[in-house]
């Protein structure tokens, strides 16, 4: 079920403002791809075009092609709602639904698909997803409690469980650890390694060590110049990016001489 994503000549706008220009890359299936770069260079913006969450913001639009497994996401016949059901997303701040229990939070996406689920079927989805998110042992005795009662790291893993409960083709993560402490971060990173065998994962991160630890390939984004749109500077295997990058700009950013 994991799919690859081809991005070609993508320009992303907020109203008349061109935020990101000319992105070309291929995100491979069953690999972790990391986006790094300074704040405001468009990494999250690019990530959000991959499941059409970008256009939720009024005036935002995308030019170019994003193709998942031969299907162009921005084809006029494609329903953005259907895209988002195939491509899950985890956000910067954990966002479980505050009024729902842990159990209902995990099933939130499945319930949208409107199928009537049997109780045991629902139970097994919840167990499988929570196990997949390494949260099962911590919450199995309190599934009926509200999701907001968990710690930040647990909430984020609950959100991951919610995202994988619908078995998406791709999992997008927008700085999933930036609001978490180091121990929770390490738990999420371990989880990313495990999820890789089933899902294509794209992760935006500010933490370069994290990118080096979890990803197979890395894209470095930067602004062309102050006031100019963001662009993809270099896209290479993570090992190469962190040892011997092609672009001097990447080298400068990674070694901390800039940004």
């Amino acid at each position: 079920m994991a799919k690859s994503i081809d991005i070609s000549d993508v320009n992303i706008y907020y109203g008349d403002f061109l935020a990101v220009q000319g992105v070309n890359m291929t995100v491979k299936a069953r690999q972790v791809t990391a986006f790094i770069g300074p704040s405001g260079c468009g990494k999250s913006t690019v990530l959000r075009t991959l499941n059409r969450m970008h256009e939720v913001i009024p005036g935002a639009r995308v030019e170019g092609k994003v193709v998942v497994d031969g299907q162009s996401l921005y084809d006029p016949s494609v329903d953005p709602v259907a895209v988002r059901r195939q491509i899950g997303m985890v956000f910067q701040r954990p966002n479980p639904f505050p009024t729902m229990s842990i159990y209902d939070n995990v099933l939130a996406g499945n319930k949208l698909n409107a199928k009537k689920m049997k109780k045991d079927e629902a139970d097994s989805i919840v167990e499988k997803s929570l196990k997949g998110a390494n949260l099962w042992n911590e919450v199995k005795d309190r599934l009926a409690k509200p999701g907001m009662g968990l710690s930040g790291g647990q909430q984020q893993r609950l959100c991951i469980a919610r995202a994988i409960a619908v078995e998406p083709q791709v999992l997008l993560m927008d700085e999933p650890c930036s609001a978490l402490d180091p121990i929770s971060t390490s738990a999420i990173e371990d989880l990313i390694h495990e999820l890789k065998s089933d899902y294509t994962i794209v992760i935006v991160t500010h933490n370069m060590q994290q990118a080096a630890r979890v990803s197979d390939e890395t894209g470095f984004f930067n602004l062309k110049a102050t006031g100019e749109p963001g662009q993809l500077v270099e896209f290479n295997s993570t090992t190469k990016m962190f040892s011997n990058p092609d672009e001097p700009a990447t080298e400068a950013y990674i070694s901390g001489r800039f940004g």
Binding site: P58, G88, N95, F97, N113
Partner: protein
Amino acid sequence: MSTTETERTPPREPEAPRGVSRRGDTIFAGLAKGSGLFIMLALAGVALFLVLQSLPAIGASGENAYGADNIVLYIWPLLFGTVLAAIIALVIATPLAIGVALVISVYAPRRIARLLGYLIDLLAAVPSVVYGLWGRETLQSWVFPIYQWLADNLGWIPLFAGPVTTGRTILTAGIVLAVMALPIITALCREVFAQTPTMHKEAALALGATRWEMIKMAVFPYSRSGVTSAILLGLGRALGETMAVALVLSASGVITINLISSQNPSTIAASIALNYANASGIKTNVLIAGGLVLFVVTFAVNFLGRWLAARGQAKG
């Protein structure tokens, strides 16, 4: 509504280090304390006036109590009419207001949403006398054929028993009140809906929720307590409204749930407005006793609203 507000916000003194007093702080604290106290005193004064003036009415009967045997029998039908009209108004206004607020805050493109918002706010600027005249002259002739149809086809429901001889019924008054309560409910709902955190809305959308599903998953649970307050504030407006009801309703002071006959219960506020100019002696006290009852009911509704809202927030 300001009553419960004042109880909740007695100005708290800033924890300045002892011995240090700044003139600005002192003046502001005094001003805030003074205003809080003033509102409390004004409220207490109103309550005191109502109680004292109502006392002589306790023994009133017959002619003095507008034909009722005692004061309770006089006020009870009016209270019934007041609550009935307000409930009709809310039953109509609430779904409409929530719908309009959703259109404005979620569905409509920004420019149209803003225009619609202005239009709804304008409804609040129309004087209630104008609503009364509109209900009496225009609305009643529109709804008259509808009432006839209701009586003919749904007459077996006690609400629509008829017979229909006029459009100026309690249902018409309820509709007018609904239009008047609409702006405040819409405005508050709109604010609450717009405050739903983006992260919850995006959580729903990213799972593949349609806009309506997003509203159900993220917006409604978040705004439940705010919407409750909005409805109860609308109820407060509908309960106390005077002129519109006085003009629209052809009242005869009965207690009935038949919404479309010519025999309609009146409301407390309308009855005071219609009778006070000609009242003298004990009759004045009887009318003021009605006012006291309305005061207590409105107070209770607002109190309930605040309580529900606070409880909803605690659940969060």
